[in-house]
Point group: C2
Chain length 275, copies 2
Amino acid sequence: MGGRGARGGASGAGRRRVGGLEAYTVATTEHDRATLAAVVADGADGTPTMRIDVLVEDAILTALARHPVNVLTEETGWVDNGSALTLVMDPVDGSANAAAGVPLSAFSATVAEDGVFTEALTVWLETGRSWWAKTGVPSPLRTTGRTSLTGAAVSLLRPHPANPGAAAAWWEVARRAARVRILSTSCLEGALVAQGATDAFADAATDTHRLVDIAASVVLAEAGGGAVRDVFGRAVELDTDLTRRWSGVVAATPELADELASVLRKAYQAERAAN
Amino acid sequence: MGGRGARGGASGAGRRRVGGLEAYTVATTEHDRATLAAVVADGADGTPTMRIDVLVEDAILTALARHPVNVLTEETGWVDNGSALTLVMDPVDGSANAAAGVPLSAFSATVAEDGVFTEALTVWLETGRSWWAKTGVPSPLRTTGRTSLTGAAVSLLRPHPANPGAAAAWWEVARRAARVRILSTSCLEGALVAQGATDAFADAATDTHRLVDIAASVVLAEAGGGAVRDVFGRAVELDTDLTRRWSGVVAATPELADELASVLRKAYQAERAAN
């Protein structure tokens, strides 16, 4: 936590008064786009940290200081308070959208109890709309129930043309699906799968996903009848090593999740073997 | 206009009381996704009409009945009332999003005076947020001012892998741009260019755009310093022939619009010449 005070723009007193949604509103009202998008540090996960991430995360961590749970975040990293509970949190998922003014960003938090994801909340920051689920609690979430990629509506991370294997995987899904979207906000796209607005969401074998990008989708999608997989078969599990990456697949059913992961993996591997 | 009463679900009295935004709210509250997405007719433009389009368009045309302007819409087509004013209207841009529950759809209307686009309004239906501009009236809209595709954030229509020329054009932009989004709502994506949230939006040479998809962006983007082009150099102009199509490009500056149209056209033509 050392040195965080120097990174935030708001005063300490101001930070203590506001929660995450308020901090987002204040940040986007008081700062222009260049200021919000400015890279102010390297996050604990090794990726650049935008000022908007810091402003919101600082406010939330301050509010959490009275609750002795462990916290795993994108920017600060792992805070071990010796609790059986860990809060896995992305204060601003879709930072680039938020900083630019594209109204698609989300706060997302997931509770892990003894390492198992049990509760998740994703809040669409620009509207306040939210998705919540807890293991064992009946949920109104229901996925579309689609079991096959043919004819599916799929959200994808943006393509990476410079990575031939991943590019081939991306294109193969675009070829098979009926509809492709790129909203650039993984947590919100996962929530849309959970509520049945779209059939699936995937990182097309680029290993871009960090745990904070997909942990909430595990709880939300499963509550709605869906499933989360990794393209390369790795378990999506609590890990305090923030350098770990996944190619997450969130889908309406376990069958669709397995098919999508398999299609992406095979297209990726075939391209790599050919070149 | 014949036969429209039989297509709408609401009663005549109910339709007369509500405007477009209210009609959208009522439609998405009272009908499930399958009902809203059901194809109930072929629109005047030759594309399938979803029930959600009819419900909203009916409400708006009823409200407009007291105003003797000409109207050009996606579903009903051209209504000539002998006026110098024509309202070019898409009641629900992003119908597939709206029907599925992806919260990205827009009402969009553009006024043409003696054939020239002079005023436009785009309303994001799920939040009520709106973008308006009128020729000669100072506007708060301002694009990003970006003049080059390298490093730009670009929204695209989804790729069409079965169309090799268009697929090559799509991929060439993905290769050059820093960021690609697919929001599946042309009017909203055009408005985001006008307000400076993204640098450009384009139909990558698929000739999918109808006039109702890009007319508002002409007024909004130009008010913010941007420009609209067609990939193949056709004028984006008022035309009562609803079978006409464009590959629209909306960009932060005339320079970027010209570059993006040129990159798309050349990639399309090179692929067509090679195969």
